[in-house]
Symmetry: C2
Subunit: 229 residues, 2 copies
Amino acid sequence: MLQFMPPNIDIPIVRDVLEESHKRALENRQLLNKHHIFAVNLMSSPGSGKTTLLEKTIPLIHAQNLRCAIIEGDIATTLDSQRLKPLGAPVVQANTQPFGGDCHIGAHLVQAALKFLNLEKVDILFIENVGNLVCPAEFYLGEDLRIVMLSVVEGEDKPLKYPLMFRECNACILTKMDLLPFSGTDIANLRRNLLNINGKLATLELSARTEDGLENWIDWLLQQRTASL
Amino acid sequence: MLQFMPPNIDIPIVRDVLEESHKRALENRQLLNKHHIFAVNLMSSPGSGKTTLLEKTIPLIHAQNLRCAIIEGDIATTLDSQRLKPLGAPVVQANTQPFGGDCHIGAHLVQAALKFLNLEKVDILFIENVGNLVCPAEFYLGEDLRIVMLSVVEGEDKPLKYPLMFRECNACILTKMDLLPFSGTDIANLRRNLLNINGKLATLELSARTEDGLENWIDWLLQQRTASL
């Protein structure tokens, strides 16, 4: 994303930006470590169901006596925060529009958002990134887990066409599995493409609407948290 | 996108990049004008059906004795070009990966791609942008028409959450209308949101799979071309 620079532009400036971003991400990491917070960065195209998955996930984690918080990244609006607020977990809206409509959450925004949370009372932090299958992959925020969500309706070729995102993530959640029969997507081919791009990628499949696969996702997530403690 | 700059970075450098980009776009515009080519920039999230729409559109335009060409923008792979090649229109693949995996097509890439086409033999040029609902909106390429495609499965809130794209386009094509009954999307609300963001936005609705709405799209497109001559 930042590489859109004609040859006459000084490359060190791009490096400065990335270094500054990484420095802030490491500060976030330290702060999260200090409070034993497990942080999950959720990334995907617009409309793959990030907010819907959180709506279903938060109550199930609360039921395990673990406390959640959410940093909700959007370019504009507080629509997603409004959807998540009733779940009882603290939500901080991080809008990128005042910063020019950034296409991803930056580590500086997460740093600012963390100040609004009582970190003593958070076990799992979800960061819902801006809907974009490209740019967010480039920015480490200080998270433990990077998850890409892909709606099966988007088609089986996406891991090949947007490889960085799938290489940079620990897991891929295939969403809207209830729409698979209508989607024209070859799921076997999609699974193959995911593993061809990243052989270490954990793959989960679910439908937040029908709740098929939801329990499996929660189990997996909590295992990841336990392993990190 | 380019606005991700900490405050200590010199703003004029960002301006240089945008000015350089705009200069190249105007050069593209001049070249296209000289050859009476009508250029359409197709933008959307990944998986909204840009390539599928082109597969259905090109033969119908050829049937009107108009000659098409395609600049196919992807980060990686030639998958889409391979799908489009059999249609008989010249296709130039513009991969952004050698340039760091850019999240959009830049005017410089279009400029380079145009050199591979025999412009004397092109009436309508389609530029299929990288799948991204954010960044491509910021870059003028020299096109006549900017179209955003939105799969109805992505949900009715997208125009509000990604406003720049919908403000910067002349038209929105709602795709995958055959999936509407399964999508949970409130189409009336989606139509309202589109007009609230951009009252001048032309809206078309179609399913490339069932071909419902396809004829209407072709008629509209050819009217736009005629009006521009």
